[in-house]
């Protein structure tokens, strides 16, 4: 049975993905303070940039990218996720980023085809 791709190419590599996420977040909101009028555009841009970088990896994965941007106000936030998938091939990565005025949480789920 021929193996079309090597192990490395078909696994979910967390380091690679987290690097992509960090770069997208830094590029979009790196130096900004929270602005309600722009946050919609920021979330869209972070998520779309992540997704386009992920698709450039060329791996046989379907991706779900979720982004939360929240103003720093002393309020609490809890997030949890649970998945029903194949542990050996699928994976996820969450990156929590913050600056002086806001929090940004991006999570990427990669599901093998």
């Amino acid at each position: 049975m021929d193996e079309d791709q090597t192990e490395e190419e078909t696994a979910f590599v967390v380091d690679e993905v987290s690097k992509i996420i960090k770069e997208s977040v830094e590029a979009t909101i790196g130096a900004n303070a929270y602005q309600h009028s722009r946050v919609n555009q920021w979330t869209t841009s972070v998520v779309e940039q992540c997704l386009s970088q992920l698709s450039k990896l060329g791996k046989p994965f379907k991706y779900i990218v979720n982004c939360i941007i929240m103003q720093k106000n002393g309020a609490g936030l809890q997030t949890a996720s649970t998945c029903f998938w194949d542990n050996s091939t699928d994976g996820s990565c969450a990156v929590r980023w913050e600056n002086k005025s806001m929090y940004c949480i991006v999570s990427v789920f990669g599901l093998a085809i």
Binding site: Q78, T79, C83, D90, R96, W97, L111
Partner: protein, 166 residues
């Protein structure tokens, strides 16, 4: 037919087997968290399961979005209706709600679908926030459902993504 899918609970950040790496730049801090499956992962990765052709072009039964939205509405309202936001309680509650939603969606018995459930519970303190997501998938077969709930002291958002396994 052997069971290919396995349940996996995920904890963000400070789980027992979680890994974190922190990076610091001038004005911001970023933390990466993910679950490491320890030795178990290496064995499985090498013996990737090759499944036989099913000659099936699409799913026999699609994920019913209204039914899943009803499940989310039901679970969120019943668990959060009269509650007040408290850190310890909401940490446990987020995970519990996640598990409950996943169990109920699995009961729908839609074959060949992988499920991802996301739950956020937050305190109402006059802050502003935005939650957005995008997916790279097959729009004909994959779908999502979400529901948000609010009471006087907290809000809860639940999202379920259903991805077809070809």
């Amino acid at each position: 037919m052997s069971e290919v899918f396995k349940d996996k609970s995920q904890r963000r950040g400070h789980g027992a087997r979680g890994k974190e790496a922190t990076g610091r730049t001038k004005d911001s801090i970023s933390t990466v968290s993910y679950i490491d499956e320890l030795a178990h992962h290496d064995d499985n990765a090498r013996m990737a399961i090759t499944t036989e052709n099913t000659y099936q072009l699409g799913p026999n039964k699609r994920m019913p979005v209204p039914a899943v939205t009803d499940i989310l509405k039901d679970v969120l309202t019943s668990y959060l209706q009269e509650e007040k936001y408290e850190v310890e309680w909401s940490q446990k509650m987020t995970k519990t709600i996640c598990e409950v939603i996943r169990a109920r969606v699995k009961e729908l018995m839609i074959p060949r679908y992988k499920i991802v459930v996301l739950v956020h519970i937050g305190q109402l303190a006059g802050q502003s926030m935005q939650i957005g997501s995008r997916c790279l998938w097959d729009a004909a077969n994959d779908t999502f459902a979400s529901f948000s709930f609010k009471n006087s002291s907290l809000y809860g958002v639940a999202t379920v993504y259903a991805v077809y396994y070809e």
